[in-house]
Symmetry: D2
Subunit: 372 residues, 4 copies
């Protein structure tokens, strides 16, 4: 019986190594689950090595699940918004999320060709909790994002099963977010180094904003760390981290933002556009083949599936409140730091056909930052 645990250790985050980016304070632990009630879980599948045999392996993939709260999400939806920086991606569920301004399932992340299996598995999970779905009430809208892990993984094999999705959901808790080569981050490559799951957060007055990224994008020469052209500097270093793999496909990034600030769908959509700026802060430029999606939800209020009466009471942050501008900056900063954390925490992983994604040479990065 598998435990779906990642065999790859997690390294330290950027901030744990003394690298501070941005000007706002972090949340309590500097990750997505700093937002009260939010839960994150992973299921990781690592199997086989050697040449690619499509359908058989090797497998380097997984699932990451994010739950806005611990209750029944279909019955108690949360306000949500989305922004598509570059739509070359297969994320499902956005049209309904944007139309109704709500999220009614967990957000699940996985690999590109497993996104539909994962969505179906989310439906199974929701049906178990809400057997009336599609019989006496409306259907349910799973939200699943993805990145292409085919440089390391047998992506054609679509090895993500319903059991894996359910395991990721079942394992979700509000503890520290496991980052790096784990869950949906297992097989990713980012700026020519090992990518994966990263997270960060910011405190804004009484509110917290958290970001979790599935980072799989960028070419090495573009990488900026704390504003320095680290990608260019590392290109000049020969060494064990190796050159950027030429065969890496155009990657992608999925960003999930959570906050306990009382925002509605329009405001959360605004937040998503600022989250995209964080991609720019590390040197990303949304290459043609990079599916770059940003989602956001608020835990401050819930939208009942069945209206008790025709109207609902809301409390919303005023767009002109100082906290709004701070949340906008927080979104950009948290995404930037979450991407760095994906790079800092992920270890080297070898996958199909001997492809190796080297972990970012963190000490060299920190040394080069001292150079100016």
């Amino acid at each position: 019986m598998t435990t779906w645990q990642s065999p790859y250790p997690q390294r330290s985050t950027a901030r744990q190594l003394g690298l501070t980016t941005g000007i706002l304070p972090t949340g309590s632990r500097n990750d997505l689950t700093d937002v009260p009630g939010v839960r994150v879980g992973h299921a990781t599948l690592v199997a086989g090595e050697g040449p690619l045999r499509p359908g058989a392996g090797p497998v380097r993939t997984g699932v990451t699940a994010i739950l806005p709260h611990g209750g029944n999400l279909f019955q108690e939806k949360v306000p949500a918004g989305a922004f598509v920086l570059n739509g070359f991606g297969k994320a499902v569920g956005l049209a309904q999320l944007q139309e109704l301004g709500t999220l009614e399932t967990p957000v699940v992340l996985t690999n590109t060709l497993s996104v539909w299996h994962a969505a179906d598995a989310v439906v199974t999970y929701m049906l178990a909790q809400n057997p009336e779905i599609g019989i006496t009430t409306s259907t349910v809208n799973p939200v699943v994002g993805e990145c292409n892990d085919s440089y390391l993984n047998d992506i054609q094999g679509r090895h993500v099963t319903a059991a894996m999705v359910h395991a990721a959901l079942a394992s979700a808790d509000g503890g520290p977010v496991r980052q790096g080569a784990v869950g949906a981050g297992t097989g990713l490559v980012c700026f020519g180094f090992k990518g994966g799951i990263g997270s960060a957060s910011r405190a804004v007055g009484p509110y917290t904003l958290g970001a979790l990224v599935q980072a799989n994008f960028g070419r090495r020469p573009s990488l900026m760390v704390a504003g320095r052209p680290v990608g260019q500097r590392l290109a000049a270093y020969p060494g064990p981290e190796g050159p950027e793999p030429e065969a890496v496909p155009s990657g992608s990034i999925m960003v999930v933002l959570a906050t306990d600030a009382p925002l509605d769908s329009r405001q959360l959509t605004r937040l998503c556009r600022r989250g995209a700026l964080g991609i720019g802060r590390v040197g990303g430029s949304a290459a043609n083949g990079s599916g770059d999606f940003v989602l956001a939800f608020s835990t401050a209020q819930r939208v009942p599936n069945t209206a008790g009466g025709p109207t609902m009471a809301w409390r919303l942050l005023h767009d002109d409140a100082p906290e709004m501008d701070q949340l906008f900056l927080a979104a950009a900063e948290a995404v930037e730091e979450a991407i760095l954390n994906a790079l800092f925490t992920a270890v080297t992983v070898e996958g199909r056909d001997g492809h190796v994604a080297h972990g970012l040479p963190v000490q060299r990065v920190l040394e080069t930052l001292k150079e100016g």
Copy 2:
């Protein structure tokens, strides 16, 4: 001294003549100002006749102003949304309306090439009420729509002055909406007949939804009245209403929806998309050159310019409430009937170069409807 009154009489509305469209009940008077607090005013300019002398005349144009409430709109904004069915138009102010989800000025309608003069005049009007704008507070976002009245009017002359805009605003009241060849409807052509301003409303439970259109679109063969291909039937009638003018430019339609239902910007945007379906119900198909815009606002709640505190209380209709579906249908129905009213109420107008836009031959239309 001009009175800015239209010299053209208003004929009866479709319903006054016994023609009922749609299945929902109308509001109290079947026009936009059935929504409590909403005000409408017009200023009409008719001057000269004969050959077009660009810059001199003849002039057949005007301004129509819609005020969501009688207070200070900059200080007490209203939630608003918009949908662009076809963006071949010069409407101003939509980007901010959509970003912030609010309307902070009256909506003003005029001719295509006068839209910027009119917008500037709205700013002057707002500055008079709010002298701190642009000094100690943010600037102001006028919302102005337009239709091309150049078949009858010297549009290059840009004869709409600030005085006309201010007169339309000053004349606005909550009484019956003057329709037909009046205000921004003075020089319009619709389905090859005289177009203009039309209005209608629907009652939905405790709520009212009203529509006002500036109707200037469509070719005669497409016209449908109560679903019958009236345009085709009238094409076969020779007679004093004359053929469709060939030189009529591609027209446009501006639609303004108002409701006292408690809707936010996302919901009002949904409402706008349904309003566009009303254009389809009369045979419209948004020709390439037809700028077709739909705006909507709610009078149920106001957004203060200066937040008293960081958050605001709201009350919103649940998307799943039965009233929502009724409001969606009401939007389609009210727009359909408002367009018919523009056609029914507008009399024949002769403009530049002997161009004549004939009033819809209402009796023939009613007779043909009896045929089936």
Copy 3:
């Protein structure tokens, strides 16, 4: 071995019964496959009767597949666009279609909770043709739409298998489009009558525009046929067609437009917005729970997956060409008539729990149209 044939006969289309709507001429056969090269196929699954046993049946569902051409769609993509009239739906693949402006798989339609299984099955189909996908080239973006057939079907059972999807794809041809209670239309309800698949087309100069709808929307009182309030008139007829089922969930409509006019993604998106007006012409108003999506593609030109050089030659219809306005009108007309055809051609179907969707009482409809 199943044949996936529908057990339900197809009745005559509206036009075959003498009912003409719109003013433009039809294509050669008045359906989607009038557009040269376009293929349509269905797979229908009807099994069991009696009480609903979720996961077991009864089953009234299916798959409809639309192929823009008979070649390798991944290697030779077609320009495409989309418009979401109401996003309460689970259609997949739109973000990439809109970003890149191309369609690279068949469009598959099925039931709401089977959309992800179907998408995965499309991927399997594409991988078989293009084994390099996700290994040496980018991944593939399946486009799948859906309607909720749960009034008749055990939707929780997700009975649509990869075999069904592949059967629908394999059966696709350029012959007359089978309409009514077939394929993805098997379990649908529309305006309180039996809905399903409908199709129609229009000729515009040298070009053809075709529409195919999966029609599952609307309440009976709103139904308009050729502009008459037929829904209201039929509400007054007691009789064997029965009352509108109260338990019918909010429906949806998927619209697919095809044309051989040389349009690009921006222009096809414009076309989609006009297609939505056709929904308004039959009385639709996009109820809150109705996922209303419009897709369009052009067969005039193909976009290679692998660029032979950095640039490509295109030929595009000028936006200002008279044909463009005619295509816009054609989209509205073809969608209207396709919806009517879904209603006219679909026979009565009984499904789970004794639920019956009665076929539109066509003779009564035709008689009432004679009344005016």
Copy 4:
């Protein structure tokens, strides 16, 4: 007689002082007019000093005009796209630009409350070239952007006249772009320092991409220069550059991108989203009150106002061509460097009420960059 020349000198650009950002090579002169055929002109109005007397002065404002080519833009339109990062702004003309995918006038930039006067003046300019507009052909769609210069300028006075707009248009040439406190940049503040007009460019294979910004956004603590938190470091330096003015309103940024790569409207819109990432690279986060708009046009092909035939031949860059990814990166880099150039080139300006916007202390910035 005024010359509309700026009385403020232009300082050196960042690159002239040895500061290189980004990894791509610049165009020949590193500004917008490196794109062949593109012309830029300015008109600057500086008058009065002392206390603000609304309507009278002091005046610190102007106009900047960008012409895609030297021909008749209405007759020979250029493909164009736009992206709204934050819609709290009054830019006019975007709806039609996005619908038709073309730009048919110069792009004019000015102050927030003069945008409508400027748009009307553009119409006058276009009518002079095309007297048939609005008589025998369609109307014209001016595109005008703006920033709020009210910290220094009497913005209520709306001092921008048609003569100024026409002077800016008449002065436009393909020579080096005058940057800093000039034209529409005269009264701007950016990151608490003097903002203004900045420009930069990148070479991508045979193509050039240029950016011009009207930079008026950001709070000092957020400023990043070459990735370093320069805003924070300068906050600690007391000195003649002074503290950040507290009364500065939320600013904005208008970005105009030009390229001679053969891109259509969809592709140019993609380019605009990448341009927005350049705002993130200098620390911008699109504050609530900051209207952040990005426009792009291509000079590679022209769209005739009057179609010679129904279709047009096009040549387009393939989305998957390597040049596309380089253009995307170029957009982010050129916007970053254009913003830095606005800051580097603008000198200290004193305006109304003794308000002073201090020029960026360039030497301190360069010194602090040496620190790391």
